[in-house]
């Protein structure tokens, strides 16, 4: 290299050109790399990235389906949906959270003590998600907020659908209620199907028909931006968005007759008790009341802790469904069943009269079993023993029959097992059936003859629910037909208004009982209300139609040492429970009713008048005359819908009808009347 270098312009020019060409080559190669990459992204992987781009901006929002209505048989809506307004707050859009909430308190739209909780809830959410800060504003509150809405940026009224029971507590123990979905509810449902649904049926028909009432939620796809906020003007991007409309839930039609239901609840007001009335020819429940009741609307929108504690701590247990769950001794109401069993098994001659004094003791024992009021029955046959409810007669009969025989008969009348009513929660009661005896008294020790004796008057190891009692009464009314009690008679498609009627379920027929036996027992039950010595004679006096009934008094305490029962000296909680069961008219029954009034003493005084008023309301027109058999009703099912016969019943329906038909055709029957010759 020369020590002195001079600039060689020509050489430098050539060098620059070479370098420029080299750079050009590098640039072309780099450009090719970019092009290759673009080809890969936009051609090779186009589909993949298209899917990603689509998924990026589309959020699926559920559209809750409208919950089905619950409708009584006459078309009155017991459970409906009501638009409500909730106050929703979007944290992002509220400049002064505390100030806004305080201002709402000043407008009396919020409780000041709710603010700390609200702020905690708000801060735990995404700032762009709206939070409900106040549910179910009244019309006045909506108006109060609406006129000052401009003062509350980021706070809006949001319309919602809420369950609404327009008659409050009416028929709450049948209809049930809905409540917010709990963790235990989630185990029974598909959470995806309930996205967007706020409430779920908790009890009664609301729970039993949850699937049908709920319907199918729909969804809509909405465009969201990268922050997850809905885009208000999607423009050209809207074309690919899909909307799946929800399918509203089915309307459920109940067998309840609200006139009877209202009356039953009114008559029970202020007392603890229950009324169940059935149409004996199909198991339709005309009334199902438990007192005291409660307002299901409390639960529909989230009950406050204070309100809930008040219900739970109420000593009268309003949340307790007495009609389905109260298990009590039946008292003397069981006597017709014992009598039918004894007649069929040949354990008693109905013509033979025996002398019954005021008490009786077991052979080889000096323990005395008294008549309820220590009265002397005198010379009585089976019929008179039922009419005057002679305990001594039935002590002896029960002793003669033995626990095994009685225990075998009780299930025939629906005792000791659930009736199969179509809502959840019923108790099965208790009957000393052979299976139960084998389980609890395997070696015959511990069961004393005295235990059998008191079974004869419905005491001791024998418990039944009011629903079971009504069911039992309807078996007596039909002379042996057992229908599953039911509340739901049909489902209506809210769109087409087409009604799918359900068939009644016939699950038993006591064909082994002879018509003669029925005649004896039913005429005795008729005598209870017509014979001056009948226990319900005064309660049922001058009835324009014949009534078959039976009183019952369930003892909760043993009599004192003298065998005396002093009502006034006994605390109310331990006083006897009062039962009355009845069906009418005797030869063509249209209604079977069981009434329980707790701690009310004699069945004839407390329960029987209630039963009479209910039967009057159902059977009599405004002129006080018996109504025609099938009064026109808006939603009544077609006559002649044949019952579904369960596998346990072997005979054909016509055979059943022949066997069960009383002397006169059952004009009160909706199901079978049209089949009558």
């Amino acid at each position: 290299m020369s020590p002195v270098r001079i600039k060689d312009h020509w050489r430098e020019q050539r060098m620059f050109d070479r370098r420029a060409w080299f750079a050009g080559t590098v640039m072309v190669l780099s450009a090719l790399a970019v092009l290759g990459r673009l080809y890969y992204l936009q051609v090779e992987r186009h589909d993949y990235y298209s899917v990603l781009a689509q998924a990026n901006g589309v959020r699926t929002e559920p559209i809750p389906a409208a919950r089905g209505l619950i409708i009584a048989r006459d078309g009155e809506v017991i459970a409906s949906n009501r638009p409500t307004f909730d106050l929703m707050l979007t944290p992002d859009e509220v400049p002064h959270l505390h100030g806004s909430l305080e201002h709402l308190v000043k407008l009396k739209l919020l409780q000041s003590d709710a603010i700390p909780d609200l702020i905690r809830t708000i801060q735990s959410q995404e700032s762009f998600d709206s939070v409900p800060i106040r549910l179910d504003l009244s019309e006045r509150e909506v108006a109060r907020f609406a006129v000052r809405r401009y003062e509350f940026p980021g706070i809006n009224l949001s319309p919602q659908q809420a369950r609404w029971y327009p008659f409050g507590s009416l028929a709450v123990d049948a209809v049930g209620y809905v409540g917010t979905i709990s963790a235990s509810d989630l185990k029974h449902i598909n959470p995806a199907a309930y996205a967007g649904t706020v409430v779920i049926g908790k009890t009664g028909v609301e729970a039993a028909y949850e699937r049908q009432l709920h319907g199918t939620n729909g969804y809509r796809q909405i465009l969201v931006n990268a922050l997850g906020r809905p885009v208000s003007r999607p423009g050209v991007l809207a074309r690919d968005l899909h909307v799946e409309p929800p399918v509203a839930g089915k309307d459920v039609i109940l067998s309840l007759d609200l006139k009877i239901q209202r009356l039953a609840e009114k008559l029970l007001k202020g007392r603890d008790g229950a009324v169940v009335a059935l149409d004996p020819w199909n198991g339709d429940i005309l009334a199902l009341a438990s007192s005291p009741a409660f307002d299901p609307n409390l639960f529909a929108r989230g009950i406050s802790e204070k309100q809930y504690q008040a219900l739970v701590n109420n000593p009268d247990l309003p949340l307790f469904n007495r009609a389905l769950r109260a298990q009590l001794p039946t008292g003397s109401t069981i006597k017709p069943a014992i009598a039918l069993g004894a007649l069929t098994d040949g354990m008693v001659n109905p013509k033979k009269r025996i002398y019954a004094s005021s008490d009786w003791h077991l052979p080889g024992s000096d323990h005395l079993f008294h008549n309820a009021a220590h009265e002397v029955c005198g010379w009585v046959g089976l019929r008179m023993a039922i009419i005057m409810s002679c305990d001594v007669y039935f002590y002896r009969l029960a002793y003669k029959m033995g626990v095994d025989r009685i225990g075998a008969w009780l299930p025939n009348f629906g005792f000791g097992h659930p009736t199969g009513i179509d809502i959840p929660g019923e108790q099965s009661g208790l009957a000393p059936t052979p299976a139960w005896m084998a389980k609890h008294y395997p070696h015959d020790d511990g069961w004393y003859p005295g235990d059998t004796v008191i079974l004869g008057i419905g005491q001791g190891s024998f418990l039944a629910t009011p629903l079971q009692m009504a069911h039992y009464t309807s078996i007596l009314a039909t002379r042996g037909l057992s229908f599953e009690p039911r509340l739901v008679t049909g489902l209506r498609n809210p769109r087409t208004q087409k009604i799918h009627w359900k068939r009644p379920v016939l699950d038993g027929n006591l064909r082994m009982i002879s018509p003669a036996a029925w005649k004896v027992v039913i005429s005795a039950m008729h005598g209870v209300t017509t014979n001056p010595r009948g226990t319900a004679y005064w309660a049922m006096i001058n009835s324009p139609y014949p009534i078959a009934g039976k009183t019952g008094t369930a003892q909760l305490t043993r009599e004192d040492a003298n065998g005396d029962y002093n009502k006034k000296a006994t605390p109310e909680k331990l006083r006897d429970d009062s039962w009355f069961i009845a069906f009418a008219p005797v030869q063509a029954p249209r209604i079977a009713v069981a009434v329980l009034v707790e701690h009310a003493g004699w069945g004839a005084t407390a329960a029987a008048p209630i039963a009479r008023k209910i039967m009057n309301a159902y059977l009599l027109g405004p002129n006080g005359k018996l109504l025609p058999a099938t009064p026109p009703e808006p939603l009544s099912e077609p006559a002649g819908l044949r019952p579904r016969v369960t596998s346990g019943v072997s005979a054909t329906l016509t055979a059943l009808e022949q066997a069960a038909r009383p002397e006169n055709p059952p004009v009160g029957s909706r199901v079978l009347a049209s089949e009558a010759p």
């Binding site: 620059f16 970019v34 992204l41 298209s50 781009a53």
Partner: protein
Amino acid sequence: MLHEEVSTESRTRRTLGGAARVLLALKVDGPLLTGLGLVAAYGLVVLYSASSENSPMLLRTVLRLALGAVIMLALARVNPNVLRRASPWLYAIGVLLLLAVAAIGHVYLGAKRWLDLGPVQFQPSELMKLAVPMMCAWYLHERPLPPRWSDLAVLSAIILTPVALVAKEPDLGTAMLIGAGGFIVVFLAGLRKRVIATLLLLAVAGMLFGMRFMHGYQRERLVSYLNPEAHPLGAGYHIIQSQIAIGSGGVFGKGWMAGSQALLDFLPERTTDFIFSVIGEEFGLLGVLGLLLLYAFIIGRSLYLSMQGPDTFSRLLGGSVALTFFIYVFINAGMTTGLVPVVGVPLPLVSYGGSSVVTVLSGFGILMSLYSHRKLMG
């Protein structure tokens, strides 16, 4: 008919001739101006969509383009000798301004890049993008080429001083571009291949060593480039969303103002660094190819013009302007497609942003000056 055709043709030629005369008088290169104008127009169309029809933003961009065009036209008329003699002064002022930024600069988004001059905010680093190659070309202008080791030492100091100052702001992208601008001058001057190889090795070593001193977000960008899915919502988010935008555009694109990625804010910085992805999404592969062809034309024309340069300074500076412009485009297109790491390099003449447009157009102004005055300098 024949007569009319002839006359039409001749009228066209006359018009062209008139335009050419105007351009000549303005010392402006017609083809280059046309290419730049087309890219700028394309950019405005895209920006209108990318900014969600933000008219003020569009207006500001038009004003900046106008300012850049005025400066470009002015520089095109300046004698290259004046430019050359001004180079050291420009460089010195630039370094002083960078020192001033370090001392009293305005902090914005965690970086100190801006100098607040009353109503105008000014990024001195933009000035250095031109001043460094000018200084290098000035230094090599009188010296015999290829440069000697002692020259290289001086050049290194010239280049690395502003690079270090800018990298400290921190603005790694601009620092790299400034360094690249200076290096290209040295490369075009005939830097020996051995030296280039050595420098490459040193650069890689320096990169690895430098990782340890990188600011958190710089390191994150590098990591996310190597594995974008590692942080789908973190540092890799930009790259993933950009690739989704481009890939979902396909061959024909989703249509103007119909890019869901851009409209729904999934694409970050869609008016600035990632505007290339908006083009890919809305106009597809064809739209991108169209833009890249325009860029290729501008770069090719610039390179051609610089090869016509009468002296070392012209050629080196002109070549540097052309190649730096290429690097802008390549890095931006490369980073939005996931080919190179995310460094904050705007897409020239298309990305929204103040100083860059003016700098780029100034560079082309200088290039035009060098070319159009070639006959004046022997």
